[in-house]
Symmetry: C2
Subunit: 479 residues, 2 copies
């Protein structure tokens, strides 16, 4: 048996290639949209990808299941649980098999047994793997998807919050309780291979360890310590992070079938021109992927700064409109990776790219910059009320302590809630470290807020300087 | 807790970075010599590498433990078991702590408990990890090094075969039996994080799954099914692969302390010149890292072909002399990776590199080539005895079936056993697929054998064609 682990750091998303070397066959579990890593790994290990499966209809990334079926002819193994609303609408186009609780299927000597494990979603399944090539014919582990993570379980509130399925959060939380009762019956020694690692918005306390065991989760996972359904439901629903706005779109696309990558329109390379960038800012959104410190010093008006770092996909999903064209200002070497990351969440509408020579053209007056100030520099103005302090962190961080007088609008909600901010006062934006607030500064400036500064070092530095902190801040305006 | 897995495909070698995010501290377990991946991963995850440990004195790769101690000031946690012969001689130069069975040490909230697990080597330890940051204060898993692998255990015969410690194989096999008895007492749910994956010469049947659990190994690992010590010892000693010749050197260097990477003499870049290559072939060994098919068509006399593929490190270790300078003919883009791979097993003496323009110089008569023939083309001559067939596969493959009349000298032993081969007959070299035999052809030709051909497609293709196979071939000459 062959088991390979794939991890998208930007989405904290895990996928697996499981193969039987004897039969030369493999299956991919919960594939990301870019299938090249699976294709190459299969080739290097002498196996052919004959199947693809997913544990549920994903909300946080675009699935590569259809891509594998279309390009390689892999058989789709898909959940047939959860009712008619949660059927894969594209399945009929390909060779596929629909799975009910208790069903099994084979890849070479490997047997996968389906467990219906609703909770995160109604159709969610987990896959119990037995390696028939091993001496004992007993299961080796379970692919849990977004059912059981290392130290956490999948959140049940996404359908209600991100896809507007009213009342579903509590019902799914109750189903999760019953699914976990089944999980507890599994043997302790089984490996647990989850669909996400730390940082994913599909859970609230996921550990930074890639896999676990049934026994260890039974001993340590908070969700498996509950004996009472009602307190479990309350605990599970409490403290879940803000669901990204793009999740609804992912859910939809993964159900109807993501576009194949070859169908994406080619991206035009444009010559460096300030005039072109100006035109782009009227036609769509212009994204500059440089680090925030470079952007702050010199950029063009109307441009959004989304640094191509570990959080790129998350903030692209929160802040970019799926209906508007995207124009990129980026180092040519990084463009393939940037496009891959955008496409990993279905942002396929990149119309054109321009390289960074656009920042070396003559005419300094056409460029702009914004100021970053440290807590020491900002403190006096903040305390005198001369600055409107905007805190763009997550709700959970905000509740744990904030700068006195600050107002809270989480970065991801800023596009919808800009009207709550004053246009007649200078704004100081802050997050934890200064990274998210830099994105917010560029967003506000691109939307006509002219007096916006970034708090360099963020709330962490504010605290390190020993400046005052409000432990129970006032409620965010409008919420 | 943070757990990151690192895997060197060419050495089938696993290492781990384990960190406590709360304390911002991490330790590396069984580091490879190139420490950059650990340094970068630690940085990306906001932890500092404060410790380094290894499960035993490695025989198959050069350890990065000294490098981490010297460059980062990481504390060395090293085995103090196994007797005075197996002490780390360089430990005293650095901040270090010697470990006995039952000792514990802390990295942030993580506790490591030492288990002395002799068998693969006398000083071998395993490390039981408990994450004090998790609700239950119970162990999560065990770093087993070369004690328990997925589906196998560490071989006990390396000291005797590769380091000439007479009589040690059986004694270590008996110690392994007792160490495994302790392993069986561990809870089923514990994860098992081994030091090697499939393909390593440190075991004979290692699975292609990166980790396992105590319970699954108890159910499936052949070595844990034995109740009787004597039959276990016999089984363990039988069928172990040929120990690479370079293992003795690794063992020595890892005990006295590997050279620091910054001490390695810089590599000179030489202009393309056939004359220079000729001079190099007299001063040392010239290695061409191109794929075998390109080398076969055009190369320079006296040059050894070691394609830079998945098996590169293994055959470099078997075939290159640690005392002679190495000269590389390689694509400049691949040179950093080639140097890293050579250095991973302590082959630091690369004196110079030349790019592949050396194959585009005028003067066709100075180049040479060798023929590849298919089984269909070769069959008649083989059966008429016109060709001396040399089988360079492993003993185990040879025993399972061979071309009638072939002689067996495993590729790794060829430098010492060339005198057994006829200089007055044409030689046809074969392995399983044609890859290893291509290396052998270049080695023989560089040593003056002029009539040498490679069997394209190897024994596999011979079998596919339905040509005769001898199931119990005669013993190899001279053995």
């Amino acid at each position: 048996m062959l088991l390979k682990y794939f991890y998208d750091e930007k989405l904290a998303q895990a996928s697996y290639l499981v193969g039987c070397q004897a039969a030369g066959e493999a299956i991919v579990i919960d594939p990301a949209r870019d299938i090249e890593p699976y294709v190459q790994t299969a080739k290097a290990n002498g196996v052919k990808i004959v199947g693809v499966t997913e544990t549920h209809i994903h909300a946080d990334f675009l699935s590569g299941a259809r891509e594998l079926a279309a390009r390689l002819g892999a058989v789709l193994y898909l959940s047939d649980e959860g009712g008619p609303e949660w059927c894969y609408e594209y399945a009929a186009e390909y060779n596929h098999r629909l799975l009910k609780d208790g069903d099994t299927f084979q890849i070479g000597k490997l047997t996968f047994e389906v467990l219906h494990t609703p909770g995160h979603t109604p159709e969610h399944i987990a896959l119990l793997l037995t390696d028939g090539g091993s001496p004992a014919n007993e299961p080796i582990g379970i692919f849990t998807g977004d059912f059981v993570f290392v130290g956490d379980v999948g959140r049940p509130d996404l359908l209600e919050k991100a896809a507007n399925v009213s009342g579903s959060a509590e019902e799914l939380a109750r189903q999760m309780f019953r699914s976990l009762a089944r999980f507890k019956q599994l043997p302790d020694y089984l490996q647990v291979w989850p669909g996400h690692g730390a940082g994913s918005a599909c859970g609230k306390a996921i550990g930074a360890v890639q896999s676990s065991t049934v026994g260890y989760e039974k001993r340590t996972n908070w969700a498996l310590q509950h004996e009472d359904e009602q307190t479990f439901v309350q605990s599970l629903l409490a403290g879940q992070p803000e669901p990204p706005t793009y999740f609804a779109m992912m859910k939809h696309l993964n159900k109807v079938g993501p576009h194949l990558v070859q169908q994406i329109a080619p991206v035009v390379q444009e010559a460096a021109s300030i005039h072109t960038v100006e035109a782009w800012t009227r036609q769509g959104v212009v994204v500059d992927t440089r680090p925030a410190s470079q952007f702050a010093q010199k950029h063009l008006p109307g441009v959004l700064n989304l640094p191509h770092d570990k959080s790129f996909s998350t903030w692209a999903g929160w802040l970019l409109d799926y209906e508007r064209p995207i124009y990129l200002l980026a180092d040519p070497q990084s463009v393939p990776a940037v496009l891959k990351d955008l496409r990993s969440i279905g942002l396929d509408q990149v119309a054109a790219v321009m390289d960074l020579a656009v920042y070396d053209l003559p005419g300094e007056s056409q460029y702009t910059s914004y100021a970053e100030i440290t807590p020491s520099q900002a403190r006096e103005q903040v305390q005198a009320g001369d600055l409107f302090v905007l805190d763009v962190r997550y709700q959970k961080e905000w509740k744990a302590g904030a700068i006195p007088g600050a107002r809270h609008v989480m970065l991801g909600y800023l596009p919808q809630r800009m009207q709550e901010l004053p246009r007649d006062r200078p704004i100081l934006v802050q997050c934890k470290s200064g990274r998210r607030s830099a994105i917010a500064v560029s967003l506000l400036r691109a939307n006509g807020f002219s007096r916006v500064q970034n708090l360099d070092g963020g709330f962490d530095e504010w605290v390190r300087q020993g400046f005052p902190v409000k432990r129970e801040p006032e409620a965010a305006p409008g919420r």
